[in-house]
Amino acid sequence: MALQATALVLLVLPLAGAFALAVLALRVPRWAVWAIGPGVVWAAFVCTLILLADSFLQDRAHDFTYWTWIQSGTFDLPANLLVDRLSIFMCLVITGVGGLIITYAVGYMEHETDPSYARFFCYMDLFVFSMLLLVLAGNFVFLIMGWALVGLSSYLLIGFYYWRYSAVVAARKAFVMNVIGDIGMILAAFAIFVNYHSLTFSGVFAALPRADATWVEIIGFLLLVGAVAKSAQLPLHTWLPDAMEGPTPVSALIHAATMVTAGVYLIGRMHPIYDVAVWAQGTAALIGAVTALMAASIAVVQTDIKRVLAYSTMSQIGYMFLAVGVGAYAAGFFHLLGHAFFKALLFLAAGNVIHALNGEQDMRRYGGLWRQMRWTSVCFLIGSLSLTGIFPLVGFWSKEVVLGDVFSKPGTTYFPQALWAIGFATAILTGFYTGRMWWMSFAGRPSADRPVEHPHEASRVMLVPVAVLTVLTAVGGFIQINAGFHPGYKLVEDFLAPTLGHLPWHARDLEYIPTAATLLLGGVAFLAAYRFYVSFVWRPWSGAVPRLQRLLEHKYYFDEAYDQMFVRPMDAIASGADRTMEEPVLEGAPAGVAVATQAGAGALSLTQTGYFRTYILVFLAGVVVAAVVLLLVRAF
């Protein structure tokens, strides 16, 4: 009973915070925003810890039904929350990492005006609520509600600087692509309802064993559309780099740690479906791998530090998709956790740099920050090494688990191994672009174009979350050590096993060879970037292969292709409809009514001649007419 209330409180607190900030936005002082904005998220974190403790003690999942929402004939839809290992895991990430980021934002957004400041935290709290609803949902309706609300929060926050045209366009782009995913989700819900006559997770999963495999495949693909859109994988990925228009804490929270991982969560939560729909699952893995490689290649030529991190996120989520796509769910979620740590760390540290340099994001104007922003540089370095997958940081462990599990998956085809090869190549590229990022920004000499001569280190409220995330990145990896090394403990896998099951296959004996190779070559690539970009010893390969450079700079021309295929036709249809239908009909009709009324009134006003004698004449004529009518009536 208390647990049920705790789960509800966990969910509702951020919403209450958002509501309070929305209502009080114009009158609330700064300190109140500091209390409410991060406060509700930390309170939600405490509730999550309570649920976590209970999960360890009781070791069972809870399906809490709060009331029956829809009752229609034989169909019942309860308003239920599913509190099991997986949802608690996600809630920890959302509220924990989210709390750190929102606390950071207290300092980062300090230059905003008071209403804007409150608006930011209102939207952030709204986002936290939406994400919690998504992961705690016990039925498809709540899931889709959370899904859509997360998209809304993302739109609001990307377009936070609404007076900037580029921000508004980016927000709209993100929202439209998210809606494509929403349609996939809704169609999947329709298919589920038609086939299983239930929309709760428990009901659907129970009905799966006797289900028709074709329909399950279709449902799997439709859900995959939603996951791909939300997690910015190929081919619905173009919105994520533009989403960097939002403030840096937004990029950290939504577009690194939580929202974009919703797709991974979806596949994990729907694993009973995907265990049957093997084609859909394989497609997920393929999409993940290809996206990982493609995004990593684009990241090599990006000059905006946040875009590098955005493509890096896309790439790492590709790894997660790869993992859950082959069935290594625990690996995927471990990488999700680790990625949340180091990617949030990287974004927040980058935010420190951006904040110190008055909003400059172009890495070519950085350089030499090691001397002036020591703490940030160190934290950023640790984050970068983790991203590259250097021992003993969490990135090493999680990436190693993913690649190892993929490598070791048995099967008749060598499909997993082919995907592993793509992942391996991606890892090397990851090292390269990450190294480039760190060397260009922090090493070498200060660029001549740097906007601020002597940047200050960040304030304490901005440094502490970064430091916490650094510590987590450093030591967080030790909770899951893959068996490839030695019979290690697998805390993550064991934790999630009641929901996701254990890994069905064991590691191959030679798994440590690819692991070592990945580690080595990644590190080499990291160092090699120095020679390319800082000491300029080796000619930048961009000069050697200009066409390839252009291809990468244009992000494989995806934006241009989508523009031609979808945006322009829609524009033409819209303006055509405007010309032929909206203007004549929708504007013409009221105008026409007005004109007709005026004409009628004008005509009628002619009867008001102003002459007394005509009025009398009309009276008399009227009397005559009335008398005639009376006569006729009486006659008949």
Partner: protein
């Protein structure tokens, strides 16, 4: 012919001639006097029709007070020219048509083809039309109309007083109201340009 019928015919002739005089005389004073003649003739006919009280009221109030009021106004306004400004074309023709139609209707109503009289109600001939009976009717059954008529008279009196408030300032104000904002004082020249196209 009996005496009542003779009296009626004489009075009818007087009335018709008076009516013609009302319509035909150029000078308004003559029209008003013709109307007085009509009223007196009608009052005699009322008397013949057992409407004693109405006869008295017609003579005293209508012919005696209202017509005197008309005479006062005629005297006040002085000689008035009557000139056509030709603003409403075809008025005479249409008016003729309508009036003829109306006349035709009335004739149709009145001739034995049109009208069917009902039997008279039983009422005491001795007191019919007497002051007592009229008083009884006015103050019992028809009290509401009586009272409303009183209020109407009050309203008319108040209105007349307001409208005819004397003094230069009042008439100037009302003159401005009548002429409209920003208009020049009324003269014949101004009236001519008021003509509609």
């Amino acid at each position: 012919m009996s005496l009542p019928q003779v009296v009626f015919w004489v009075m009818a002739v007087v009335a018709v001639l008076g009516g013609l005089g009302v319509v035909a005389f150029r000078r308004p004073i003559n029209s008003v006097l013709s109307l007085v003649a009509v009223m007196l003739a009608l009052s005699v006919i009322f008397l013949e029709l057992s409407a004693q009280f109405v006869f008295a009221v017609q003579v005293i109030v209508y012919a005696g007070a209202v017509m005197v009021l008309f005479l006062f106004v005629v005297a006040l306004l002085g000689p008035v020219r009557e000139r056509s400004t030709g603003r409403v074309p075809f008025h005479r023709g249409v008016a003729a048509v309508v009036v003829l139609a109306f006349a035709g209707l009335l004739i149709a109503f009145i001739t034995s083809a049109g009208i069917r009289f009902r039997a008279p109600e039983q009422a005491s001939l001795a007191v019919f039309g007497t002051v007592q009976q009229i008083g009884a009717g006015l103050f019992t059954t028809y009290l509401y109309p009586f009272e409303l008529t009183s209020i109407l008279l009050l309203v008319a009196a108040v209105g007349a007083i307001y409208l005819s408030r004397g003094g230069q300032a009042a008439s100037e104000v009302r003159g401005r109201e009548l002429r409209g904002p920003g208009a020049a004082p009324a003269t014949d020249a101004n009236e001519k340009e008021d003509r509609r196209a």
